[in-house]
Symmetry: C2
Subunit: 205 residues, 2 copies
DNA sequence: GCCGCAAGTCAACAACTGATGACAGGTTCA
DNA sequence: TGAACCTGTCATCAGTTGTTGACTTGCGGC
């Protein structure tokens, strides 16, 4: 199939270009490749620790194209956050009585069932250190995450409970980013997941 | 009293030097002033966002002295973390049945009762973005914070419960660092504090 | 086949960082 | 008094960053 001429939205997230393969000239595909590369790198290392040159290299392209296609690093980051926060709805899809378990398993047992819309949280935690990124993160956190989240949990003090639950998610992710992995093996992860699930569920109910 | 000749340990945390006042020549006091300035700035802006020149300026001293007295920025940060984690015991002092309330009030109602040993958490959250700082933070988090914490809570799965409680603290602090302040006024803070207190207490019991 | 324009590269800039070593200013003790 | 020493400053280095504009290269239409 002719992937080069697809519109940007339908392109799958391209893998990093390997070897010295030359990307065929195609503005849409290149822009998309930069966006994907940035999404990977920002999620792994955070806004400040990733340079335009890193992103360009991972996309197989010169760093100057970041500015050409996005206007600058900040704007690129904002667009990454836009794309990622769309996935946050996954957290709110499905049974509310299973919310705690879904989120907890995504955090402690990611091998089953993926990230459940927590990519945004990860990105936020790892990038909030930079003042330039923080303003963008804050906006998305309020508008795209806390807002819908509060509406979804509903009930008394919905905003507060949503914010507290979000804080817990943020905290677990931040702790995982500081320490590398929970010391214990799978049984520890299982136990942690169950405890966290109860904790989160008590906020959702 | 002759403050200039005190040993470093007994010196109070010096305020930033104001105006163009010249600090009297005193190695111990100057070293201490740098340490205090670094502690303030790292806690406010995080490791990466504070330069040696900033610290020197706040201490009323040339940036080169950071290297002279501490060997480098990383070593200075490690020493700040050493000093700060000593204060973490405050969190574990007092009645364990009141742990949740103590921590929650320190986070949401800091005007009563100070930080309750949470300065370390704040410092960790704001500095964990930098790889150089993360390694130092990780070491202190494990050895000076999670370890004693787990021992203090005791009981079944103490390590796990301590880690989960620490994650919650980290999350609330991180969330406060991203968004500026809870939107609601004092009544919101009061309600948030009570909910968080229950949450944390359920982990301590 | 050739021209024009879009796509991508490249070198360079200015700002900033942590670090270094030479230097100057004050203190102390003989 | 003067020499040795400690304390602090300064200019400077090398490295990195985001960004810019001039340049080259290749594709599509005539």
């Amino acid at each position: 199939m002719d992937q080069q001429r697809k519109t940007e939205d339908t392109l799958p997230c391209a893998a990093p270009l390997e070897g010295s393969a030359r990307r065929p000239r195609n503005a849409v595909a290149t822009r998309h490749a930069i966006l994907c590369a940035a999404r990977r790198r920002f999620a792994r290392d955070g806004y400040d620790q990733v340079g335009c040159r890193d992103i360009g290299a991972e996309a197989g392209v010169d760093a100057a194209l970041v500015n050409r296609y996005f206007g600058g690093k900040e704007e690129l980051f904002a667009e990454v956050l836009d794309a990622v926060s769309q996935g946050s709805v996954d957290l709110l899809s499905g049974d509310r009585s299973q919310f705690g378990r879904r989120a907890a398993e995504a955090l402690f047992l990611p091998e089953r069932g993926g990230d459940a819309g927590l990519e945004f949280v990860n990105l936020a935690v790892r990038s909030a250190g930079s003042p330039a990124a923080r303003e963008i993160v804050r906006h998305h956190m309020e508008q795209q995450f806390l807002g819908p989240f509060a509406e979804w949990v509903g009930g008394e003090e919905a905003g507060l409970r949503a914010r507290l639950a979000a804080s817990v998610l943020v905290g677990v992710v931040a702790m995982q980013a500081m320490l590398f992995a929970p010391e214990g093996g799978d049984t520890q992860a299982q136990a942690a997941s169950e405890r966290l699930a109860r904790l989160l569920q008590s906020l959702a109910d």
